[in-house]
């Protein structure tokens, strides 16, 4: 028996060492992953197939029918890079929003650091993201995109996107315990974000139409991170986020939004987590 008495102050108490925190997150993520593919014949393959099929549809419609990719170098890569990051954001925030409620049985019966629940969602999302990056690598090779040293920096926008998605997810999760309308609202917001972010249409198209609109669109951290990823992958073939927003200094805006949303999410979640079991 350990000889140190510890004070119980509720589920948010960080009395657990980091090792246990990490074990909890990983174990929860693994079971989340299993539950998600419960009853599907192809199982895990779906997390690869689904984005691929969506990509195929969108690529066909926007490249062949609408002609959005005309004159854009490596349009498939531009589209795929944007889609992968956006789907990662949508998947993590959407699943995190309902995560505490979905895990009700556990939350009501075991006292563990509540932050593990949304973090497990991020872990699952990250795993899917890595699978999708394999697909992206295949397409890079197929399109004959030259290898460049900036590929080494690709993890940077991915990590930042992970941080943002986790922060927003925690904010939504905390609110969803009390307000169940968060889910339909967030679904609509995600839809809107999909079109408000230069994913289907390359940012060059917007730049040709209106410089001011481009600056506004690029204020979204989603747009900035996606454009950063494209630039790292394709180099000069695509404009940098700084160019698009109208100068490096302006990047402060999406950066500030990212920081504020993330800090807000962590703060709100930490304050609300101890009451989660009572309000579920």
């Amino acid at each position: 028996m350990s000889d140190v008495a510890y004070r119980v102050t509720g589920p948010a108490a960080p009395r657990d060492d980091l090792g246990r925190f990490w074990h909890l997150t990983l174990t929860l993520a693994r079971t989340d992953w299993k539950v998600r593919f419960f009853g599907s014949a192809l199982g895990y393959l779906w997390s690869l197939l689904r984005p691929l099929m969506l990509f195929g549809i969108l690529y066909f419609v926007f490249s062949e029918v609408v002609g959005a990719g005309e004159g854009v170098q490596h349009y498939p890569i531009v589209l795929l890079a944007g889609m992968i990051l956006y789907f990662f954001f949508g998947e993590v925030t959407g699943a995190a929003a309902t995560s505490l409620v979905d895990r009700e049985a556990l939350v009501r019966k075991v006292g563990f650091p509540r932050m593990v629940v949304p973090l497990a969602v991020t872990v699952v999302g990250t795993f899917n993201l890595l699978l999708n990056l394999v697909v992206l690598a295949v397409f890079l090779a197929l399109n004959g995109v030259p290898v460049r040293w900036t590929w080494l920096l690709v993890p940077l926008p991915l990590v930042l996107m992970g941080v943002l998605a986790t922060g927003v997810g925690m904010l939504l999760a905390a609110l969803y315990v009390r307000f169940r309308d968060i889910r339909p609202i967030w679904e609509v917001v995600l839809q809107a974000l999909f079109y408000a972010t230069p994913i289907l249409y390359p940012i060059q198209l917007v730049q040709e139409k209106s410089e001011a609109l481009t600056h506004v669109l690029m204020a979204s951290p989603l747009a900035a991170l996606i454009q950063w990823l494209r630039r790292l992958l394709l180099g000069d073939a695509t404009p940098s986020a700084a160019d698009a927003i109208g100068g490096t200094a302006w990047l402060v805006v999406p950066a500030a939004i990212l920081v504020v949303l993330t800090v807000l999410g962590f703060t709100v979640f930490s304050r609300m987590a101890p009451q989660a079991a009572e309000e579920l």
């Binding site: 008495a5 510890y6 119980v8 074990h23 079971t31 019966k109 075991v110 169940r180």
Partner: protein, 414 residues
Amino acid sequence: MQPPDEVAVSVEGVSKTFRLPQEQVHTLKERVVHPLRRRSFERLEALRDVSFSVGRGEFFGIVGRNGSGKSTLMKCLAGIYRANAGELWLRGRMAPFIELGVGFNPDLTAHDNVLLNAVMLGLTPQQAAERYDAILDFAELHEFQDLKLKNYSSGMQVRLAFAVMVHVDADLLLIDEVLAVGDAAFQQKCYDVLHQAKRDGRTILLVTHDMDQVQRFCDRAMLLERGRLVDIGDPREVSRRYIELNFAPRGASGEPLALADARPGDGLAEVGDSWAQDGDGLRTETLEQGRPCALVMRVRFLSDTVDPVFAVALTDMDGRVVFAASTEWEEGSAGAFSAGESVDVAVSFDNWFAPGRYEVAGRVLHRGSGRRVMAEQAGGTSFVVTGSRAGGGVIDVPHAFYLTRAGATARLLT
């Protein structure tokens, strides 16, 4: 403040209040449509300034009626709820068993649930995998290990949950009413485990409604009522208080009163009142088992009567008559009574009834073959027998056990 070394659980002035919204505002629309309407709350004080401590290796019982705060206390200790005031200290690793489970996911197999919950309760994933077989063995569910939990019966789920809990090496077990479910064989297994845990020096907090368990297992017990600590100490004494509390009079309005009209009988007398007395002749509503006591009825005669018969019957809560006595077979006349005269009729005996609530029925009859009823009061007065023994029978007569081995003299078991 750090509790002393020998203390495993220390609870100091803990209060927990729930704010129950009177109108559950669950959608934003309701807030938008009624932005000025303040959410009104009803405050439910689930725990009020509760303080106690449990020593290392102690088996500690927590009893109380439904809604007395037992489960809230357990959840505060388990770190599920945050107390509003006070301090809770634990020593050693704690494993909770709250609301009959450890939080299983119905869409996962037993295998995945066991691993997840073992990690939740403090094992590393590797330890959890190593102990998986032992856990399934204990729960006797090996053949169902690939079945999703939603296909399990509730008894099977509880077995699995209990098995996980006892295999995570916790120094401190918080158990909220587990032994009530499961079949007899598994219950026995639970008892064995708890005994073993106690021998191993683990500390156990057990919430239960079964006073038999409290007296068999617990070193000490505590009684909660409406969030307050009412009694703490000897399990027998606490059980006795619990039974008293449970069968406390239901108040002026709740108690069924004798019907004023339509009383059986020819109306030549009336039974005005009846009650129980303790050995000192004081009127009481609780009688301790094994002590002398008396049942008394006050009869008023409405006409001149010679040699009536008085009868008293006791009915338990299942409606069984457990005791009936009548003056019919007593030698000697009861005497003559004139109209308007009152008499108290008492029957005294040693109280060997099982703990529980009893109702008194009093009757006055004409002597003779007809047994015509003059007056009757039934379902009027009740009292509670308190005691720490519950043998299971309706009455508990004084008894002794003798053991006789072949060729030896009988030995009295004391």
